[in-house]
Subunit: 483 residues, 2 copies
């Protein structure tokens, strides 16, 4: 999803009444970011509280490339990383992930090996259908074992766009919440549905209900589901004891627009880029009786903050033996405080940009290559800002491009290098960047090696289902990350 | 102002708490339009309920040109046009205009000759300062006579951006409302402030208060003023008897961005164009006790509807001897009905585009000329949609460019001419357009002739102030309208 996909964030069709109501009962974050313009690294950052370049969710195969975890990826979340559910366990929490894991699909990376007690969902995106020879279909797991595969046991009709997956994920969430409430058990639910990701789907009830086409149908179904989850918490009488946060893992994928792609509002470009459209996200905090209703926050926030904030809510301290990038947002959420902190925009292992206050400095600019662009792959459709949305990797480290995001949220008007404003802002930003770079200890890159042999050929449980497939010979190679 | 300038419409800094509250107490219109992408024609349409091509507020000097009323314009609102205040008089209303008139500044066009009982404001934009030799400074009138000039008696500091004009206009509004309430007199107040028009200004109290720079300061001052007006109505106990509508006369002028220009959200281009950014407007209806609080309407609306709707509220019928384009919005506002009606997008006397339902068909496309564009005049900064934001006037009358504004509000993806959807939609649209063209009787164009002799040299009242200036010899010429 993108920043502009919700009514509360100005989507012109205003079709998200439940999320808009969640915002009016809770707090809207206008300056909230992902940790990366792509899914896997952003999710790894959410669960570790650390930038992908620290937790290993990046590549060094080429400069400044977005990498993720397709099913031939060899790497995944390292055992050395401490995940939010692992830590919450210490405070007695039961942890469940529903939906897309995306932190590696090989056995050692299984979410139940990393602190989750339950899992219902898939290790990868719902791409397909595949032929189970060149590529296996993506498995769906219940806890330790697969229970079927997408397109086989979990239908997705690419022609009509019909799939009832979000409904299944919703029911799983409601059941889990009921169970924990019944046993008076504190719980952490990571409701990581993959809906709105292309190929976009919605269940029959929602098909054709949106002004926005299939993508809007999917958004409406998510909106409806979240309304049902919040009402369920209220019905069970635990809403005042349950902190809920809604956000997304990257900006809307404009390459899939208009039929399968969403909106980043007036922000520049989308998913895959370090412009605002790639990383600024819709974000809403909800906790009746604690968060003042109708609040609006300009706190610079990041998905990594959900790690630290959740620990804080559980009365736990973040690990002290490593750098944690997430901050505790509770002072911003409960007392309306503004905490001064920068936002870093990475692509692979390159810090492309940084935001300090209302200023954003680009040290590198790149949308994608001319080669890709000439094939019609466009991360900024209809947008072209000279010298900014560049199709070659442009270095600006000696004289960063500087934007004032208040006056110019669309990143169209770089400030004059000669202006006093530029000088003053860059003095402040340079200190932040220097400190960041000096203290940066990159993790071992996990997204460098791909091997068809590691694909989801024979996930645990495949024997019972008669769905084991024969893997090819191992042939590890450098993964190719084009952008 | 542009569609995206209010928090309720997704402006990322969300600095319009009063207008946002007005929306939450009233009804938000998401699909509301001006009658023209430029000020004078749009205002003439608002007050006559008729398209500029009917009421004469257009030019035939060149094809598809935007024209307005600079101070050398010879024309103005024809006597044959019936203005809203003229009609409201029949129902006993006292009518006042505060702010910019812009329907002609020569004596016969004076607002008090066209139904208004009172006027405080100027006939033209607050451009200047001028030298009173080549160009006179714009006068400010109280009723029949000028009481001073901009930059002389009404200060505007272009260096600091400071001017207290909006405060003066606010006080005029509050006083007028108090006076009418005291005398139990029904009233029509046209609060036509010119703030946010470049050169942008705000009063001292608001300078530097916005994240968005001077433009945002001006928006905040307008927001604050409207909050004060609504509170005043409530304090006087007449809020449930007073219908209030907020909107703008054209999209944000992106040529003035980022320092002096606003936001059209994710819509394409801005003022001067017939893309959504040029003509879709923020719009809020407020009438406590009558309009359901928090309503949202997708009714296709137009400033011309305020003419018909106001007459309806006053128990009057619109004139039956002429074509009225505005419709009565009360069924949409009070009962949530959706009235099927098209929106026409004109540039001069050319129908550039039409919206029917969620479809918009462009019969002509043009941003501005290559000649202007090469000089840095850009109505679509950072935006470039191939074949759409054209710099030559492109005719598509045989095969219009068609967009689905639900899936593609940014007008980036024309539908395939060969698609069933295109065929079906164009069949419906063609009927609407044909009917429109067959019944169109253009008025006499008022914006063709310019003459330096007619400028504001010696407005009525200048003698008392010693501010009469000597006009040059009359030398009427065709006005030059470059875009």
């Amino acid at each position: 999803m993108g920043w502009g996909d919700l009514g509360a964030f100005g989507e012109p069709s205003k079709e998200t009444p439940n999320l808009d109501q969640m915002a009016s009962e809770g707090m809207l974050f206008l300056d909230f970011y992902t940790a990366n313009p792509l899914c896997s690294p952003s999710r790894a950052a959410l669960l570790t509280g650390r930038l992908p370049v620290r937790n290993g969710f990046y590549t060094t195969n080429a400069h400044a490339r977005n990498a993720y975890t397709p099913q031939d990826i060899v790497g995944g979340i390292p055992d050395s990383e401490l995940l939010l559910p692992e830590l919450l366990k210490k405070a007695g929490y039961i942890n469940k992930i529903i939906g897309k894991w995306h932190l590696g699909h090989r056995p050692q990376f299984h979410p139940l090996n990393h602190g989750f007690d339950e899992w219902f969902g898939s290790p990868n995106c719902h791409f397909g259908p595949f032929d189970n020879r060149a590529l296996p279909n993506i498995p769906v797991y219940r806890d330790w074992e697969m229970i079927g595969r997408y397109y086989e046991d979990f239908k997705i009709d690419l022609k009509t766009g019909e799939a009832n997956l979000t409904q299944i994920y919703l029911q799983e969430a409601l059941d889990f919440i009921s169970k924990q409430q019944a046993s008076q058990q504190p719980f952490f639910l990571y409701w990581a549905i993959d809906a709105t990701h292309a190929p976009v789907y919605a269940s029959k009830h929602f098909l054709g209900t949106s002004q926005r086409g299939l993508y809007g149908d999917a958004v409406r179904e998510i909106d409806d589901s979240i309304g049902k989850i919040l009402k369920h918490l209220q019905k069970l009488g635990i809403s005042e004891n349950t902190f809920v946060f809604f956000t997304s893992d990257n900006g809307a994928a404009l390459i899939s627009a208009p039929k399968q792609g969403g909106s980043n509002g007036r922000f520049l470009c989308g998913k895959q880029t370090t412009f605002e459209g790639g990383m600024r996200e819709p974000a809403i905090a909800w906790w009746p009786g604690h968060i003042p209703a109708g609040g609006v926050s300009h706190q610079l926030g990041n998905v990594m903050d959900l790690f630290t904030t959740s620990l804080s809510l559980a009365g736990l301290q973040p690990p002290s033996d490593r750098q944690i990038d997430g901050i505790d947002l509770l002072p911003a959420i409960l007392q309306g405080k503004l905490i001064d902190r920068p936002i870093f925009y990475y692509r692979g292992n390159e810090m492309m940009a940084v935001r300090v206050g209302l200023y954003k400095a680009h040290y590198w600019t790149w949308s994608n290559s001319w080669e890709e662009y000439s094939k019609g792959i466009d991360f900024c459709p209809g947008q072209n800002v000279s010298g900014v949305t560049t199709h070659t990797q442009e270095e600006h480290t000696t004289l960063p491009l500087l934007f004032h995001l208040g006056r110019d949220p669309g990143e169209k008007y770089p400030l004059s290098f000669a202006s006093d404003e530029y000088q003053r802002a860059m003095e402040r930003i340079s200190v932040v960047v220097q400190q960041h770079k000096v203290t940066m200890v990159p993790g071992e890159p996990q997204l460098n090696v791909c091997d068809k042999a590691v694909m989801n050929w024979s996930p645990p449980g495949c024997e019972k289902l008669g769905k084991c497939l024969k893997p090819p010979e191992s042939d590890p190679k450098k993964c190719f990350w084009p952008h």
